[in-house]
Symmetry: C2
Subunit: 285 residues, 2 copies
């Protein structure tokens, strides 16, 4: 397994492989790899000849008061996991290699970035869009994988890649969960034992919303209140947003027609957790 | 010569050529090709195995009161010129192919876009940066050529391509001029006979500035006034900006050290003309 540290080496590696007719699967990550990432890597391994995993804690997608400094970094463990999964190359550039002196270009996806996480984290999606544009341009993947846990991020990256004609197709892989339903996230390590116990309430709230829809409920506002009600059963958990949205635009739905996604974010102390659940109403036959 | 109309056909063409080990030279244009473009195409022809010319009057780089509707369009003539110059493919997409429903991504290069043309044309460089990011991603050139006549645009594209790791290297080709010094531009066709006669005053102003620098003058403000003075000898020509700038940052220079670029824009009726002149002071030996 190759460890690539510079942008030019990354571009050269991909160019060489493409010349040989090798297809490249790409899994962009911030490291601290868990079973969710492993599922993306395995999907890439099955679909493409070669797999590259990027590990880059991108500073520009963190706000000034956020957890950039303490975000978990464990390159040695990550390398071991990648090696075991048959990854061909890890791209782990330094921040200085990605953002050279004079760097100033900004990529933004304004409509999708305005909502939900964008409201909570003002420059977050600009940072995400810019680094993803860079990574896709460098890696030149045939297929890239993103986790569904960050639903809005996946929607935004999909729009970005389409709008800028960035290389390859994009696949979103279902969220991997703990036994009690908590969505895997590198940030779960921040949770105290008590918070960890309370955290699955977000998943239960989404489940309750989805169950209500399957039971015939169609009013967005009602389902929203229902989910908030469930979250409030855990005193230590603060609902941030719990919304019933159009899965493409992420705009809130007044009435559910056919497709919806339930989006949720909650706070536990200083930790924020996200989760979501797509719902499709099957027409009666 | 192949005429490519869709983005997917463009991407496929490039992918196929790269797989065969063919190098691709790229000349992005808005059509209405003139000798300046021909010089870029010939440079591309010499340096690369295959040459693609894009012809796309990009709506997003025009302001609401600008000349989008009347911008000269002459695909038949352009095709003939390209065929004669041995171009391998013309990429001439429709606006609908480049900007599909739901399009929202914006690429901006804020520091360089703030100055000069950016001040005169508020969203112009956002449109340029976005379309160039798209084109470079679609065409995947080994080398791209831009004309030096649009000096700020070339500087901005260089920064953009570096910042986003867009494919290929970038070359800037010297401005091609009429016998009387007027820089070639597709917009010169807008000039009346009288305006055409007055137009070379911009070039003469830049020449006067450069001559003063060669003669030992180092004060930016003085050279600026000198250039404005020359432009004012033509009553029908309105100076818009005439500036002595750092060639990388395009910030005005108070005192010239080693490198400078003289940037100028003037108005003739409703027509705006740009020109520039890089100056390097050779140290005395």
């Amino acid at each position: 397994m190759k460890l690539i540290r510079t942008t030019s080496a990354m571009a050269d590696w991909s160019r060489r492989l493409h010349r040989e007719g090798v297809t490249i699967g790409f899994v962009p990550t911030m490291g601290a790899l868990h079973e969710g990432h492993r599922a993306l890597i395995r999907a890439a391994r099955l679909a493409c000849d070669a797999v590259v995993v990027s590990i880059f804690v991108n500073p520009t997608q963190f706000g000034p008061t956020e957890d950039l400094a303490k975000y978990p970094r464990q390159l040695r463990l990550d390398r071991a996991l990648c090696a075991k999964e048959g990854v061909d190359a890890i791209f782990a550039p330094t921040a200085g290699a990605m953002y050279q002196p004079g760097f100033q270009t900004i990529v933004s996806v304004p409509t999708l970035a305005r909502l939900w996480e964008g409201e909570a984290r003002p420059h977050h999606f600009q940072g995400v869009a810019t680094v993803v544009a860079k990574l896709l341009s460098l890696v030149q993947p045939d297929i890239s994988w993103f986790g569904q846990k960050d639903f809005q991020q996946a929607a935004l990256v999909r729009q970005l890649a389409k709008d800028l004609n960035l290389p390859g197709t994009l696949r979103v892989h279902p969220t991997v969960r703990e036994r009690d339903g908590l969505a895997l996230s590198s940030r779960n390590v921040y949770l105290s034992a008590q918070q960890r116990e309370a955290a699955p309430v977000l998943y239960r709230a989404l489940q309750a919303g989805a169950a209500a829809i399957r039971g015939g409920e169609r009013r967005g506002a009602f389902i929203q209140r229902l989910m908030a009600h469930v979250v409030k059963t855990e005193r230590s958990v603060t609902p941030e947003y719990l919304a019933v949205c159009d899965p493409s635009t992420l705009e809130p739905l007044q009435t559910i027609q056919r497709h919806a996604v339930l989006l949720g974010a909650v706070g536990l102390g200083t930790v924020r957790l996200l989760d979501n659940m797509p719902v499709t109403i099957r027409p009666k036959s």
